[in-house]
Point group: C2
Chain length 419, copies 2
């Protein structure tokens, strides 16, 4: 048997509880230990210990007192926004984009590098990540010692534990040791994951999945996929490749997908699939901007707003595909919430959401459907960057209580970490 | 926000570790604390404490010593098979079947009651469960005080926490308080769940999912579904209805399913779906026994064994549907193992398995496919009964350390529990 025992430790629990308390403080600063205990379901003693650790780390501060009915005044704590900086980097097919955040997850600086087709060797991509990272630190004027970590999102299959980009379909990368390459240029703790997990963790901490145990975060862009939150944490799967809902079969023997399968969800609801849907409906449709996904989706959004019947029909068609494919996830996983995110979902917005809700209800079983909310992502900034920055925050919280100077095992850098 | 905080406690961890140690003892009796620590990844001190609890409960016994190289002789423990009895009950469309097990999960007695169509009111079903339960206790000659619990599997959507059968499609039951009705007749702690979860927990403890963190247990019978094991525990979903993979869309706008959706997996790979596949291939096929699923599947198995080209074609066709539908689960969940269980899978056996493996590989992404084993269930007895008995065992283990006489919150009986 090649099975490894599943070992659960009190350390995992402690880390998860630490996440939850900080999440709650960020969401509702200023707040008291009593309110935190009520909101998280943890005991007051546990909350007091975790708050103490976060105060020691200067991630939060004491900000005064509030009266409590008939008791001692309660101490209030709030997130110490300037107590540290986090950087999130989104590596995409045509650009590298970075954002620097304070601990309240406010964006302090942004930087972008464009990439032309063919300019995407590992060395070129690493150089862009290093440049954007340096740029956001310089723009924000934060000291190096205050940067708690850099989270990097790489498309495709990524082994977060080893920092290897195992497979990037667009660039045909295979087993590139990306984190090691990045560590030669970037003097901060580094965390690597893929966009599905980044968006899931952003929704879990700051978005529509906050407070839920089981949630599905859909990425609807050029590619499509699902970040899964199960049991209150991101589900990665045995080889870190869970969430490839875009390559589920929706139409047996349907459209050929770049993954080699036929009839994948992505071939009908990814931006190129939507362009194909329009083409099949009406080859000369003015909605269609050949070779330009972004302009096509914008034209569709504008058409919807203007009540154009062709645009309405295209979105209804899209919702029909999405409805069946989302119903599969509702039936199989029985989540509390399904979040529609990424640029196609955001640009088509509420009209798409309305059609999708109706379509999912037509396909899903009644009981799990009744238990599931379907919502648009409320995150207004780049949710991949926010998610990777959050992964860096999680890494910093995970190393709390470890020997000073010892890095979290998943964080790597060639230089000494900030102390 | 209707979200409830996800509270994880050290108590949950302790219960999970207790499961793991007992699972390992059942699998490898006699064994030493040192071997248990090595197999589970737990510390020797933790193992020693958990072994002490299991000894106090008389679920295991000391059975002597083995020499250890250069050290003190090591104490050996083994499961105390006669230390308690567990009953598993499988409520199906046409029968109620019960098995009584010792703590080594050996079957000591069996009982069955047949039901005719129309004889399936809650009262009639409860009477059958009470009769079979009494029968297996009498046959095995165990004292009532030694029966640790009765697990009952009810098809459809079941709320395990409240003991309510929320929806049973075949009988059109809605919100039947089944556990309360059963408790009026059965003087043992009772646990209710559905067949998907029962089979998943049986595979997790005693079958092909043992030792794995992420596993999918497929039920391939009249209906089809998936029991999900994620993070080492059964995933139930927010309203206890996870696993309804049988109602995922495989063929958009395909065959009408009794759930109201079109093109559900179940309509192509459930036993009635297989009969339909045969009919579409060749309406007068000698494989087809109209109105008799069991005879049809047997004819198919016999045809396969004899190399009948029609049978080979039908199974290849079935594998094609299963391949795409299983690939969806491999892509989305990235499990370590997929287990094919229930009567259709068992009767078609290795020839089906071989075709399914090849078909999944054609549809799934390469990386998650390479990380997933696809196997037949090794459980030879009724895995629903074994699974519900295991749920009762889990319930008994969960109440360890609670005030004596206090029942596990999920167990209910109107009489005092055995002490
Ligand atoms: Zn695909
Ligand atoms: Zn169905």
């Amino acid at each position: 048997m090649g099975a490894t025992p599943v070992k659960r430790t009190s350390r995992d629990i402690r880390t998860a509880n630490r996440y939850e308390v900080l999440r709650q403080i960020i969401a509702s600063s200023p707040t008291s230990r009593q309110e935190l205990a009520a909101a998280t379901g943890l005991s007051l003693a546990t909350v007091a210990t975790l708050v103490g650790e976060l105060l020691d780390l200067r991630m939060i501060t004491e900000v005064g007192f509030e009266d409590s009915a008939g008791g001692r005044p309660r101490g209030l704590v709030a997130v110490n926004a300037s107590g540290g900086a986090l950087i999130g980097v989104d590596i995409a097919e045509t650009y590298v984009y970075a954002e620097l955040y304070d601990l309240g997850l406010n964006v302090l600086a942004r930087a972008e590098e464009r990439m032309r087709p063919g300019q995407s060797t590992p060395e070129e991509v690493v150089a862009h990540v290093a440049t954007t990272t340096r740029s956001v630190v310089a723009q924000a004027g934060v000291e190096s010692a205050r940067v708690l970590g850099v989270g990097v999102s790489m498309p495709g299959q990524v082994d977060r534990a080893t920092g290897v980009s195992e497979y990037a379909p667009n660039w045909d990368w295979q087993d590139v040791p990306l984190l090691d390459l990045l560590a030669e240029h970037i003097p901060y703790p580094l965390y690597l994951d893929n966009p599905l997990r980044a968006c899931a963790v952003a929704e879990l901490w700051f978005g529509a999945a906050r407070g839920y145990g089981d949630a599905v975060v859909l990425i609807l862009g050029t590619g499509v996929g699902a970040g899964l939150i199960l049991g209150g944490a991101v589900h990665r799967g045995v080889s870190s490749s869970a969430g490839e809902w875009g390559h589920s079969t929706l139409v047996l023997d349907g459209r050929l997908c770049h993954c080699g399968n036929h009839g994948c969800v992505e071939t009908y609801v990814g931006a190129p699939g939507i362009m194909q849907n329009i083409r099949e409906l009406s080859p000369r449709s003015p909605l269609l901007h050949p070779g330009d996904q972004s302009a096509t989706i914008d034209a569709l959004a504008a058409g919807l707003a203007a009540g154009d019947p062709d645009a309405v029909k295209v979105v209804r068609d899209l919702a029909r595909y999405l409805g069946a494919a989302i119903a599969d996830l509702v039936n199989v996983l029985n989540p509390e919430v399904v979040v529609l995110g990424s640029w196609v979902a955001i640009r088509l917005g509420t009209p798409l959401l309305r059609e999708v809700r109706a379509a999912v209800a037509r396909h899903a079983l009644k009981r799990p459907m009744a238990a599931t909310r379907i919502v648009l992502s409320p995150i207004l900034t780049d949710s991949v960057c926010m998610g990777t920055a959050t992964l860096a925050l999680e890494g910093a919280l995970q190393s709390v209580g470890q020997t000073t100077g010892k890095r979290a095992t998943r964080a790597r850098s060639r230089t000494a970490p900030p102390t």
